[in-house]
């Protein structure tokens, strides 16, 4: 019984070992295949001056820009096959990466996913043809994010004098504060636009959602806010109205969230 049991146990053990080995081989092959299909790009630039600017034009893929407390810009990118050419330029404090220009006439190129760390005071101007754009922890003069076709835009912990975010299909989230005298423009054709700002915030609002008429002001409702055009637009002022906030969503909804 014991021997029999031992023999059965030995067979089971061998089977387990074989399965584990086979799984390891499959996992290794998958991982190796994936690694072979991707390239990695990494480069750092000093950013000592006060006026630092990042300009990035991507073709497809996700771009993530994160502000940090170091006078340095660090660009890392994973390039899917067929790998795109990435040639950043350092123009005296302005870092320019333009994949559309650098890969013009190449036809198909794979996704390029960027993660870029910049000094928190950097002016950020990024755009892509397809893909998501994420910007966080920036306190500067400008944050601009533009998606030519489809992709979500997520702006988190932003304090900038000028913010512009627009896409055709996809959601837009602005999470941050509105500076006095600042100008904020969020625009989408189809998606949901969310604005997460603290109370109190001072701004003049023009919010338009002509198709859905779904404009939820949340805690900012009331006061001088008034609907126009049978609820397709809401205009009004919060606080002393020192900032200007313009939100347009042609086929989607708009919502305000207390920060």
């Amino acid at each position: 019984m014991h021997l029999f049991s031992g023999s059965v146990g030995g067979r089971r053990g061998r089977a387990k070992t074989t399965i584990l080995l086979l799984m390891s081989v499959v996992f290794f092959m998958l991982f190796a295949g994936n690694a072979a299909a991707q390239k990695r790009f990494s480069k750092s630039y000093p950013a000592g001056g006060e006026s630092v600017r990042l300009e990035l034009v991507n073709k497809s893929g996700t771009v993530t820009v994160i502000g940090w407390n170091r006078p340095e810009i660090n660009i890392t990118a994973t390039l899917e096959a067929p790998a795109a050419t990435v040639v950043p330029q350092n123009l005296s404090g302005k870092i320019v990466v333009n994949l559309v220009r650098d890969n013009a006439g190449r036809g198909e190129i794979g996704n390029v996913n960027f993660t870029i760390r910049v000094p928190y005071y950097t002016a950020v101007d990024i755009e892509t043809v397809i893909g998501n754009l994420n910007v966080s922890n920036i306190s500067s003069t400008l944050v601009r994010a533009h998606v030519s076709s489809e992709g979500d835009i997520t702006l988190t912990n932003i304090s900038a004098a000028g913010v512009s975010a627009d896409n055709i299909t996809g959601d837009i989230l602005f999470d941050g504060e509105l500076r006095p005298g600042g100008y904020y423009r969020l625009q989408s054709m189809k998606g949901t636009i969310s604005i997460r700002i603290p109370i109190p915030s001072s701004f003049k609002l023009v919010a338009t959602a002509p198709s859905t008429r779904n404009i939820n002001l949340g805690a900012f409702d009331g006061g001088s806010m008034r609907p126009l055009g049978n609820g397709r637009r809401i205009v009004g002022q919060s606080g002393d109205g020192s900032a200007s906030l313009q939100v347009t969503n042609q086929q989607g909804s708009i919502q305000f969230i207390r920060r």
Partner: protein, 228 residues
């Protein structure tokens, strides 16, 4: 008479004087004068009365000169300002002050009009008085005309970029082509909706503004894909 001529010439003249009475008479008179001058001393010749002679000459000349017609009197231009009476001047000053005040108020009101929507997307109801006046005299287009003009311009730009896109489209990968088509359809859907609404209600400001914005989005999309 002075025997200065040669014989042949003198004979010719004598023959002529014999045949021509007027010349002979002149010759006799001259001969008489010459004889007097030769025979009488110079101081005995009576001098002519030069003063009387000049008086006569002067009278003849004056009688021959016709008197000129009198020149029309040119009136000195009068200064028009002196034609106004004091009450008239006061009324003019008040009128100018009123008109300039009115224009100033209009200008300030126009300046303060919230720029939430531009002139293209405005309806006739929301036009300011100054704009209406200017539109009436043809200085500016009405909002509807301005919108039509703008739409025609936008359509021309869209046609241009659309042509460029069709040339480049074959070089895109399948994913790009699909994304482009999907997003153009989304924009076109909005454009069609807005066009229908504006046909029913041409004065709908918000729809006019949204149509303008949607066409701008389409232009931007076409331009960016044309550059791929």
């Amino acid at each position: 008479m002075d025997s200065d001529l040669d014989e042949v010439r003198a004979q010719d003249i004598r023959d002529h004087l014999a045949a021509c009475e007027p010349c002979a008479k002149v010759c006799e008179e001259l001969a008489a004068i010459v004889d007097v001058c030769r025979t009488e001393p110079a101081d005995e010749i009576v001098p002519p009365n030069s003063q009387a002679l000049w008086c006569r000459i002067n009278n003849i000349i004056e009688s021959e000169i016709k008197p000129e017609p009198p020149l029309p009197q040119i009136e000195e231009p009068r200064r028009r300002i002196w034609r106004f009476s004091l009450p008239q001047l006061a009324a003019a000053v008040v009128f100018i002050a009123l008109v300039s005040s009115l224009l100033t108020v209009l200008a300030i009101r126009n300046y303060r009009t919230p720029p939430a929507d531009d002139y293209l997307s405005r309806s006739p109801e929301s036009q300011t008085l100054a704009e209406r006046l200017m539109a009436k005299v043809g200085l500016v287009d009405t909002p509807q005309k301005a919108r039509e003009k703008r739409l025609a311009e936008q359509q021309a730009v869209i046609d241009y970029w659309n042509k460029r896109v069709q040339e480049r489209r074959s070089q895109w990968d399948a994913r790009m082509r699909e994304a482009f088509d999907r997003n153009v359809n989304i924009i076109d859907q909005s454009v069609n909706d807005y066009t229908v609404i504006l046909q029913q209600n041409p004065d709908d400001e918000i729809t006019g503004e949204m149509l303008d914005s949607a066409l701008d989005e389409k232009t931007s999309l076409l331009r960016q894909f044309a550059e791929l």
